[in-house]
Symmetry: C2
Subunit: 279 residues, 2 copies
């Protein structure tokens, strides 16, 4: 059976993405995003699922930096998971009686307005993950609540008090699938690549983008990340339409090579389609 690694524990949004990717696989929870990559690289799993972008927070920079600097895996797919934050407690309790709320700082921040309106009295306490928050809530002596996915609450047998408490209702996370092997063209693909310049003369980025635009290749996304050598120097990450074997993409990448210092193709893969679009 195909093995698929994800950022655990069970109940995480990454697990949901793994299930959406493949609903009869063996799921392998691991402890960190780099470990997802290393388990796949060493053959301990066939594929790995890592979060790369959230509709509210933006890039998952940890994953982006891993793909740029520390991994030779290919992106072979993507999937999008809606983020629905859920408030849970050990027993049914009124919101105004809750003294402490546990969650990962990012989840606390995603529910900031809701918490300010509905639990202004509660102390906010940081946890290292949302699943850990549910455990800490269960062990707390105070009247405590936790913010996590509905699935993490269910797995831990706690009482769901409210669902969908995130401040922005269109909260979604895009995950990418990592593999040791390439994905073949399907006719509706995208390609992720990154590059770095030798210097920062005016116009160099616009020249590069023109290589794609002049060939009718749509740019879906551009992201800049620090190159980690000096403040103000960046690596650019692009998502473009088309497969790297398509002639226009091939030509644009060739033209790029003479203009940039480092160039790395992270993978070509079928675009995620929502259920609506698949009909």
């Amino acid at each position: 059976m195909k093995k698929i690694a994800y950022l655990g524990p069970a109940g995480s949004y990454s697990e949901q993405a793994a299930i959406e990717r493949c609903n009869s696989c063996e799921y392998v929870p691991v402890e960190s995003i780099p470990m997802v990559a290393s388990v796949v690289a060493s053959g301990g799993a066939d594929e790995g699922v890592v979060p790369i972008e959230n509709s509210i927070e933006g890039a998952v920079t940890f994953t982006v930096d891993l793909l740029i600097h520390d991994s030779d895996l290919m992106i072979t797919g993507e999937t999008i998971v809606p983020i629905k934050q859920c408030l849970s407690a050990k027993d049914p309790v009124s919101l105004e009686d809750i003294e402490v709320v546990f969650s990962h700082p990012q989840s606390l921040s995603q529910c900031r307005e809701y918490l300010g309106r509905n639990l202004p009295q509660a102390e906010l306490v940081a946890s290292l993950s949302n699943s850990k928050a549910v455990e800490e809530m269960k062990n707390s002596l105070a009247r405590a609540a936790a913010i996590s996915s509905q699935r993490a609450a269910n797995i831990n047998n706690v009482v769901v008090l409210r669902t969908g408490i995130e401040d922005f209702s269109n909260n979604q996370t895009r995950f990418v699938i990592l593999s040791r092997v390439d994905s073949l063209p399907t006719g509706d693909d995208k390609t992720s690549l990154c590059f770095e310049f030798y210097d920062d003369s005016p116009g160099i980025l616009s020249n590069v983008l023109t290589e794609f635009a002049s060939r009718g290749i749509n740019l879906e996304k551009i992201e800049s990340r620090p190159n980690k050598k000096r403040l103000g120097l960046y690596v650019f990450l692009l998502d473009i339409q088309g497969h790297k074997q398509d002639a226009p993409v091939l030509q644009a990448v060739e033209a790029l090579k003479s203009q940039v210092g480092m160039l790395k193709i992270l993978g070509s893969y079928p675009k995620h389609r929502t259920l609506l679009e698949q009909k």
Copy 2:
């Protein structure tokens, strides 16, 4: 005396940036980045200091989103602070005897390799800020340590065990100064602006960048942020060379207006110069 608001408490890197901005001001610590902006907007302070970019982690997305969506303040300056993480405890203690390390998850992540090499036995516990981590360490019954700035350790009268434990030695954070009033041209300025497109046709971003490049205006930085309405739609944030009153910048911005949906100038301000460059 001029009042300058910053993300407190005393001992934070934001306080260091405030002191670097102005060494005989009244410093006003506040609890969050949005509160820095609202205190300045309401006249409770003349200026505010907020982190916007780190050389390792990249954009401080919270600040970038605030400037794009929720603030009419102008950026009137920038300053760069080196980040030196410091390990402290209540008493002098050997690293191998430490059972727990408190810090904000971002600081734990910045010291990941150091901790794995030198304190593999220690449990990592998340705090809401580095200053809070020092307090929690002081109150802990375990043999605990905290990661924070040296200043936060000194203010809290704890023992500094090690300094400079961050994994990347060139760790720096850029802060911007927010104000209700504009900064006048100095001859060595940069301008921050953001915009959003109506649609995502091929080449639209390269057309925009060409407006700057063709006028010899160097692009210092480009950042994309989710527009928070739909996954895959972005607001672009640009830092360009020159003041918004300079003729080439004025012309480029005029040319942009017909091509973009939303356009907002966040401010023109003198470039940060290191002590070396100032000589």
